[in-house]
Amino acid sequence: MRWVTTRARDGLASGAVPGTVQSIERAAAILRVVAGSGGTLGVTDIAAAVGLAKTTAHSLLRTLLHVGFVAQDPATGRYALGTGLLRLGTPLDVNELRARSSNWADALASRSGQAVRLATLAGTEVVVVHHVFRPDDSAQVLEVGTALPARSTALGKVLLAYGATHPPELAEVRAHGWAAERGEQEPGVGAIAAPVRDAGGLVVAALGVSGALTSLFDARGVPRSLLLAMVVDAAHAVSRELGHGGG
């Protein structure tokens, strides 16, 4: 693959290059100004620096704030580069992911009565980054760090379906927004999982419950609706915790 780059432009030149998107050019200019200012500028200064009307600069900054590319000091109103931008190209720290998801994972286990696992993709395998026991006090072993095959687990199907290759046989997972596992990995055991997204909307993890097939699915193999809603809601809640959908 050949990477095409263009020379960075300092401000917003009057004649935009044909075929480019103006608001992205403007946002890029704003980011350069914010990066160069060291967090000392407010909206008025930024608008002046890039030659935009204050209202235009304000709405661009609000959007950048929303996706986590800039941060705003609540006391002074000044802008700095956001953690979302600083983290670009660096995967979300798995321990951070566990810490942020912990309360929601506990609540999901408590309400569903099932074991809860959160996983990320590592090559063709799925690695468990957080595990909450099934709340029945039976003997269980913490599975954090365990690798699972991606293709035969609900967690893996979610991660593959939303990954770079998104195989056609998993198109249904994307259409539904969840994946099911019906004994493929372990006889009699099933799972339901849903995607967790980061601030930029990228699927970074899968969250799901696992337990006896009969407690997860009805006689026709359809996920029990209450349980499915709990899983999807919990995955949304963790995504919000990561800044998705404006926090």
Partner: protein, 500 residues
């Protein structure tokens, strides 16, 4: 019958939170509001009691409003930051000064002076605790000595004293208009003014600290109806109150002698239930009241407080900039297989249990050019594990009780490396409950138990479920026991370093 719910108010150091729990002990709603921290001079920490009362009223009303039917909420329980001291006018309801917070160290000189008196041994003998500025009695004395006319007004019966639960209950039940002036036995036990056996204010201790009895609240059991809250959008019986760490012990269902919990937050707080027997301590843990059910004998606990746990990870993040979030300490620590011979003693402002050496100062020991930031991160986490072992050993020496398992809660329990290290360092299983909100859950349990939402403590025990367990590995446990003297040596050096 409609399901019944309990409201808990967790009046903490940085915020006031109102939470609703269902009969399964699950949290169904929460509202929170932070309050201002005032630092008028170095070492002084104050809160505005009026702001905290307003936040309590507001969050409680909001969370009741969040419920589909607020009528299903049948009782209110309170857990509070301990030892924070409020004095107010019983007619106007206005505090005479801001609350002196438990972190405030202004009473240090007063305590040194009092401890030098020939009759100072009385304090430990009666209250069960060695005289220290950590407790609320000396703070009350400071207010009487320094706020204009406070002493004469207190002696005339115009002023009332209370810790946070007392202040909130008085306001909830009507304030100047018939407010109930009570404290629970766990909070009273942290004043140094209570006889820890009879659980009454002790006249000799009041004389020692020169405190007028007129201003003291009535001491009541932790579990039992204290009054009716009329200041919310709905009248509710206030049926439970506990200091926050005791509330966590209750929320963790540690009802049998030997059962213990450790809360890992900024500092760490380990409490072990010792049953109806008060343990006389010699090894550096504190004997304290665990809780009391109305009509039953008082249950006691041993307590070991460590000042710096999560705060050390924050220092790694904010002071050194080695990580960008607290959770990343585990990622950094896992870049290496061991501590590389490095030990960190986080005695930022002395050491609490079991050493009680205010002069100790922090150190990093064992540096060689081999040591990387990964080793430092590991040593930071291990410091919390070693300190837990220090406290558990002291308690075992004092109580003779074995520890079947350590129940943990708090932010650091999502750190698997640390939790496994604690299990190995103690050679004891470490277990985390499904509900991490143990402080507010304990307050809800106390209140719900008093009004019959739960029949007895066994019903509460059945609500407790494991969400994770870390089991010690025998060879690691042996290796850490062999390594422990290195840590003890580092602690000795930190004390020697800070010595005048």
């Amino acid at each position: 019958m409609a399901d019944r719910y309990v409201l808990a108010v967790d009046q903490g150091t940085t915020s006031t939170r109102s939470l609703v729990f269902d009969r399964g002990g699950r949290m169904v709603a929460v509202r929170q509001r932070e309050h201002h921290q005032y630092f008028p001079r170095p070492g002084w920490v104050e809160h505005d009691p009026m702001e905290i009362w307003a936040n309590t009223q507001r969050t409680a009303a909001q969370v009741l409003g969040d419920m589909p039917d607020a009528g299903d909420v049948v009782a209110l329980g309170i857990a509070n930051q301990r030892e924070t001291t409020v004095v107010w006018d019983r007619v106007t309801g206005r505090p005479v000064t801001r609350a002196l917070v438990w972190q405030d160290t202004r009473t240090a000189d007063l305590v040194t002076e009092l401890a030098a008196r020939p009759d100072a041994g009385l304090v430990a003998e009666r209250s069960g605790m060695a005289i220290a500025g950590y407790f609320s009695g000396p703070r009350l004395r400071w207010i009487l000595d320094h706020v204009p006319r406070a002493r004469e007004r207190a002696e005339r019966g115009e002023l009332l004293f209370g810790t946070m639960e007392t202040w909130l209950i008085w306001n909830l039940t009507g304030g100047p208009d018939g407010g109930v002036h009570v404290t629970d036995v766990t909070n009273a036990s942290r004043t140094l003014l209570m006889d820890v056996r009879s659980c009454r204010w002790d006249p000799d201790l009041l004389a020692f600290f020169d405190i007028p009895a007129e201003m003291l609240p009535e001491i009541r059991p932790s579990v039992g109806v204290l009054g009716t809250a009329t200041a919310l959008n709905r009248a509710l019986p206030i049926a439970g109150a506990l200091g926050d760490q005791q509330a966590a012990l209750f929320g963790q269902a540690c009802f049998a002698p030997g059962e213990a919990k450790c809360t890992y937050g900024t500092g760490s707080f380990l409490l072990q239930n010792t049953g109806t027997e008060l343990v006389r301590t010699r090894s550096g843990s504190i004997s304290t009241v665990a809780y009391q059910l109305a009509g039953e004998p008082v249950r006691y606990a041993l307590e070991g407080s460590v000042a710096v746990a999560g705060a050390l990870v924050q220092w790694l993040r904010d002071g050194l900039g080695l990580i960008s979030s607290a959770a990343e300490v585990e990622t950094l620590a896992r870049t290496v297989g061991d501590n590389g011979g490095c030990y960190v003693v986080p005695a930022f402002s002395g050491l609490l249990a079991p050493h009680w050496r205010g002069e100790a100062r922090g150190l990093v020991a064992g540096l060689t050019s081999y040591v990387t930031k990964g080793h430092l991160a590991r040593a930071v986490l291990e410091a919390t594990g070693w300190q837990t072992r220090d406290v558990v050993q002291a308690m075992a020496a004092d109580s003779g009780l074995s520890l079947p398992a350590l129940r943990v809660d708090g932010g650091m329990t999502t750190n698997n490396l640390l939790m496994q290290f604690v299990a190995d360092a103690l050679d004891t299983p470490v277990v985390r409950p499904m509900v991490g909100e143990t402080v507010s859950l304990g307050a809800a349990y106390a209140a719900g138990l008093a009004v019959g939402v739960w029949s007895d403590v066994e019903a509460l025990r059945r609500n407790w479920h494991r969400s994770a367990q870390w089991t010690p590995t025998p060879e690691r446990a042996r290796a850490l026991t062999a390594e422990y003297p290195r840590w003890e040596r580092a602690v000795e050096l930190s004390i020697a370093w800070g010595a005048p």
